[in-house]
C-alpha cells in the first residue's frame, strides 16, 4: 500500500521534531498500534486520561521510530500523522 500524503493543505513538521504527531484526544487506547509497532516504541500513557476517558498512546522513543507508518495503517481512529525525519544528504 502506497502511503501517499493525502493532505490538500500544507502542514508543517512538528516543532520540536518528532516522527509522529498523535491526536491523543481521539485515541481510544485500543493498543493495536502498540502491538503492531515493529520497533516497540509505542505505549499507552497511563499517567493521563483524555477527554474520552482513555489512556492515549505516546511515542516513547522518537529516535527508535523509523517512520514505517504501520501504526497509522492499523489505527482505527486515524490519530497518527507520520513524518520521516530530517536526514543528512550525502555528497558523492
Amino acid at each position: 500500500m502506497a502511503l501517499n500524503p493525502v493532505a490538500t493543505r500544507t502542514i508543517r513538521p512538528p516543532i520540536p521534531w518528532a516522527p509522529l504527531v498523535i491526536a491523543d484526544g481521539r485515541c481510544k487506547g485500543c493498543e493495536l498500534c502498540v502491538a503492531a509497532c515493529p520497533r516497540a516504541v509505542l505505549a499507552l500513557d497511563r499517567t493521563m486520561v483524555n477527554a474520552l476517558g482513555y489512556h492515549p498512546v505516546r511515542l516513547l522513543d522518537p529516535a527508535g521510530c523509523t517512520s514505517c507508518a504501520i501504526c497509522a495503517r492499523v489505527c482505527p481512529d486515524a490519530v497518527f500523522t507520520v513524518w520521516a525525519g530530517p536526514r543528512r544528504k550525502r555528497d558523492r
Binding site: 500500500m1 481521539r26 482505527p76 513524518w83 530530517p86 544528504k89
Partner: protein, 286 residues
C-alpha cells in the same frame, strides 16, 4: 562546468522532514462512537484515502446502513442518505439511475446486507448496477447488543445464541460474496481483512479496485471486509484481530473471488459457469 560552490565535506546539507502519512480531510476530525479497536474505523479511513486518491469525494453520493455504522455520515464528509435496514442497494440503485455522473457507494454490515437486505443486494448485483458496495462482516450484530448474524461462526456464542451457534436450529454461516459472485452482473467481488497492517494494505487495494471498476463503467463491485467486534466477541482488540486472522478467515477465505472486468461482459452473461477462483470455494464443512 560545475557551478556548485558548496564546500565539500561530510555534513554539507540537511533535507527537510518529509510527510509520510496524514489522514485525508474527508475523514472528519471527530472522535467516533465505535468501540476501541473496531474495524469500522480502519475501513472508514481506507475509504477516505481511496476516494481522495481517486478524487471521487466531490461527486460521491453514499448510502448509510442501519447498524454500528448508522452514523457513518458523521465521520465521512460526503453527501449521504440514510437507508432503511438492508435497503441500501435499492436506495443506491435509485441514486445511480437518476444521477449517471455520481459516484455511488453503499456501506453495510452483515445484518444489513446478508440478513434483512439479502433480496436488495442480490438484485442490485443481478442488474449489474454500477455501484461500489462495501460489506463489513464481523459476524455479529454490534449495535443492538451482540446478537447472532448470518455470518456468525458455528459454535460462536452471541446474545441470541448463548450456547453457541447450532447448525441444526440456526443454520450455517453464509458466504454471500461467493453467492453473489456467480451473477454475471457482478464485475468484481473480493474479500479482504483488517487483521494486520499487511492485510489492511491488501484490503485497501481491493477497495480501490472496486472504485475503479465503477469509474470504468464495469458494473457491480463488492468488497467484503472481515472485521472485528472486540466488545461483542468478548476479546481485547488485539485478540479480536487474531480471531479474524484465524477462525474467521478459515470460513471466509481471502482473495479476489471474481473479476470479470477482463472478460467480455456479454459473453459472461451467456455462460453458465462463472469465472470464480477455486480457492474461494472450499468444501462446506459442518
Amino acid at each position: 562546468m560545475n557551478l556548485d560552490t558548496r564546500t565539500r565535506g561530510p555534513a554539507a546539507s540537511v533535507e527537510e522532514p518529509r510527510l509520510i502519512y496524514r489522514k485525508p480531510d474527508v475523514l472528519l476530525d471527530r472522535s467516533t462512537h465505535y468501540c476501541p479497536g473496531c474495524g469500522h474505523g480502519v475501513i472508514h479511513r481506507l475509504l477516505a484515502e481511496v476516494l481522495t486518491e481517486l478524487d471521487l469525494a466531490p461527486r460521491t453520493i453514499a448510502v448509510a446502513p442501519v447498524g454500528c455504522a448508522v452514523f457513518a455520515y458523521d465521520y465521512l464528509g460526503l453527501d449521504f442518505v440514510e437507508a432503511p435496514h438492508g435497503r441500501a442497494p435499492a436506495v443506491a440503485t435509485g441514486i445511480r439511475r437518476v444521477r449517471p455522473d455520481a459516484f455511488v457507494l453503499t456501506y453495510q454490515g452483515d445484518g444489513d446486507l446478508a440478513a434483512i437486505g439479502t433480496a436488495e443486494i442480490v438484485h442490485a448485483a443481478a442488474r449489474g448496477e454500477r455501484i461500489t458496495a462495501i460489506f463489513v462482516n464481523n459476524g455479529i450484530y454490534g449495535m443492538t447488543g451482540g446478537q447472532m448474524a448470518p455470518t456468525t461462526l458455528l459454535g460462536q456464542r452471541t446474545t441470541s445464541s448463548p450456547a453457541g451457534r447450532d447448525a441444526a436450529t440456526m443454520g450455517f454461516p453464509i458466504r454471500i460474496t461467493e453467492m453473489l459472485a456467480q451473477l454475471p452482473g457482478v464485475a468484481y467481488a473480493a474479500r479482504g481483512s483488517v487483521g494486520n497492517a499487511s492485510l489492511i494494505g491488501k484490503l485497501k487495494a481491493m477497495i480501490r479496485r472496486a472504485c475503479e471498476v465503477q469509474i470504468d463503467g464495469g458494473g457491480f463491485a463488492l468488497v467484503e471486509a472481515l472485521s472485528n467486534c472486540p466488545v461483542g466477541w468478548g476479546m481485547t482488540p488485539q485478540e479480536s484481530l487474531e480471531h479474524v486472522m484465524g477462525p474467521v478467515t478459515e470460513v471466509f477465505p481471502l482473495g479476489v473471488i471474481v473479476d470479470r472486468t477482463a472478460v467480455d461482459h456479454a459473453a459472461a452473461g451467456r455462460a453458465i459457469e462463472p469465472v470464480v477462483s477455486p480457492k474461494a470455494n472450499p468444501t462446506p464443512e459442518a
